[in-house]
């Protein structure tokens, strides 16, 4: 399938138009949910770190450091990708799957359009493009969530938290997670697209393909997380 997806577009202008549409529908429309989840998780992590490090021998700055590193290394890249697999992945499978069972894909093929490329390539490019931005947004709002929640919960002061998130910062962690975001973006778009494109039957099968797509996307994300962490971080 990937051979056809990356085939030469019939009319690049139409693909670009589709790309901007996908960036809007798959990426921009996901920004709010990313912000909401990140703010809450950032806040929750700050409280949990504060409790687990309540021993006086640990400096309070560790709370900010722990929140920052967990957000950068795992939450905003991997966990967010798992969440997005549910939102974006199921959307891609059901959209393409419905087009398959209602003969819209056959219709494109008969017109002489490379349907795999026209429908899937813009989605892959859009998700791969948008994922690093979602990662950055998630880290920013996760840290903000901690900054707001920590003092309100009375577990850490603002200066201590800010000191913590600046302490022992390794820029490579961001590079590492950006690489992961790109890989996960590709998985989140391509695996569900595959399940949608080859679905056979009716509405029931589209639903079942959507579930399979999300489950397999999640497994692949975790597998690649392990591989990339082993390759790039150790």
């Amino acid at each position: 399938m990937l051979g056809r997806v990356f085939g030469r577009p019939e009319k690049p202008k139409m693909y670009f138009r589709q790309l901007f549409h996908e960036i809007d529908s798959l990426g921009v429309n996901s920004v709010w949910i990313v912000i909401i989840i990140s703010v809450f998780i950032g806040g929750i992590m700050t409280i949990q770190f504060a409790y687990s490090m309540s021993n006086p021998i640990y400096p309070h700055t560790l709370v900010g450091l722990g929140t920052r590193d967990t957000l950068i290394l795992e939450f905003s890249s991997t966990m967010l990708a798992l969440i997005m697999a549910g939102k974006i992945g199921s959307n891609i499978t059901s959209e393409i799957g419905t087009m398959r069972v209602t003969e819209q894909i056959d219709s494109l093929e008969i017109m002489g359009v490379n349907s795999a490329s026209y429908l899937i390539l813009p989605k892959i490019v859009a998700v791969v493009f948008i994922f690093p931005f979602l990662f950055i947004i998630s880290v920013f709002f996760g840290l903000l969530g901690g900054l707001v929640t920590g003092p309100i919960a009375g577990v850490i002061s603002i200066p201590e938290y800010i000191d913590g998130i600046q302490w022992l910062f390794y820029p490579y962690y961001v590079t590492f997670s950006l690489i992961k975001s790109v890989v996960f973006g590709f998985i989140v778009a391509s695996v569900p697209a595959y399940y949608g494109y080859y679905v056979q039957g009716g509405a029931l099968e589209v639903g079942s393909a959507s579930t399979k797509a999300v489950v397999n996307t999640n497994i692949l994300i975790l597998l690649f997380d392990l591989i990339l962490t082993r390759l790039l971080l150790t």
């Binding site: 019939e10 087009m99 209602t102 003969e103 819209q104 056959d106 219709s107 008969i110 017109m111």
Partner: protein
């Protein structure tokens, strides 16, 4: 003109098409009829090149589809219009954009020219301008079929294929769709092939009728000849509907 010569097609061990040979002429409505499972959809999809045939030839004028490379097939498909059973309109696009889609994809027309062509096609299938901006889910089944026909003729095709264009429509709307396909076929001198099991369509517009049974050509003729045929298999198919049995009785 489309000519099918000695076509065989099977799926695993099941032979679906057995030595099909026929000719579909331009400017008239050619119907393929038969019971469900007789092989008519497989024949239609084989002619379209969606299924690779096991043996035989499929000629579009002077080009044998079987010998064409994928690139040439793609180019040739631009000469084909197709109306699917369910319309197969793109859900995400309004009526107007559905019809404009093939023009955007395959022509270098200016925006104005495309707009004129879209309007011409939609007016030809009696779609009012108030419906141009509606989405497929907002229009009736009959309108969806008419928009699908408009999209199919947008590139001015030489060949028009319709897979059960009347399925799910009431008898009155079915007649409207049949007449529309017939008039467009004559106006644009297209080679039109319609896959149907609707006997009303056969009687109304069956200028050439091919009856398939168990993957073989069982009978070929016109709507004028069909009610008087002595072919038993065809008679079983037609006169399953008592109305046509009555018509035959009256004729004789």
């Amino acid at each position: 003109m489309i000519e099918v010569k000695n076509v065989y097609k099977s799926f695993e061990d099941t032979a679906v098409l057995k030595n099909i040979s026929t000719r579909f002429g331009p400017g008239k409505t050619n119907l393929i009829i038969g019971k469900s499972g007789s092989g008519k959809t497989v024949l239609l999809k084989s002619i379209l090149g969606l299924y690779e045939i096991d043996e035989g030839e499929i000629w579009y004028s002077d080009k044998n589809l079987v010998d064409l490379a994928e690139k040439e097939r793609k180019r040739m498909r631009r000469e084909i219009g197709m109306v699917f059973q369910g319309g197969a309109l793109f859900d995400s696009l309004p009526v107007e954009a559905n019809v404009r889609f093939p023009l955007d994809m395959f022509t270098k027309m200016s925006g104005k020219e495309k707009q004129n062509r879209v309007q011409f096609c939609l007016e030809h299938v009696n779609i009012e301008s108030t419906a141009f901006r509606l989405f497929p889910s907002e229009i009736s089944g009959g309108m969806q079929k008419r928009v699908a026909i408009a999209r199919a003729i947008a590139l001015n095709p030489k060949y028009l294929f319709c897979d059960e264009p009347n399925s799910g429509l009431d008898p009155e709307t079915s007649t409207v769709i049949d007449k529309l396909i017939q008039s467009l076929t004559k106006e644009f001198q297209m080679t039109t092939i319609i896959n149907t099991h609707d006997m009303n369509s056969v009687i109304e517009i069956g200028e050439s009728v091919l009856f398939i049974s168990k993957g073989e050509v069982c009978w070929q003729g016109t709507n004028k000849e069909i009610l008087n045929t002595q072919n038993e298999t065809l008679n079983d198919f037609i006169f399953a509907n008592k109305l046509y049995a009555q018509m035959r009785k009256e004729q004789s």
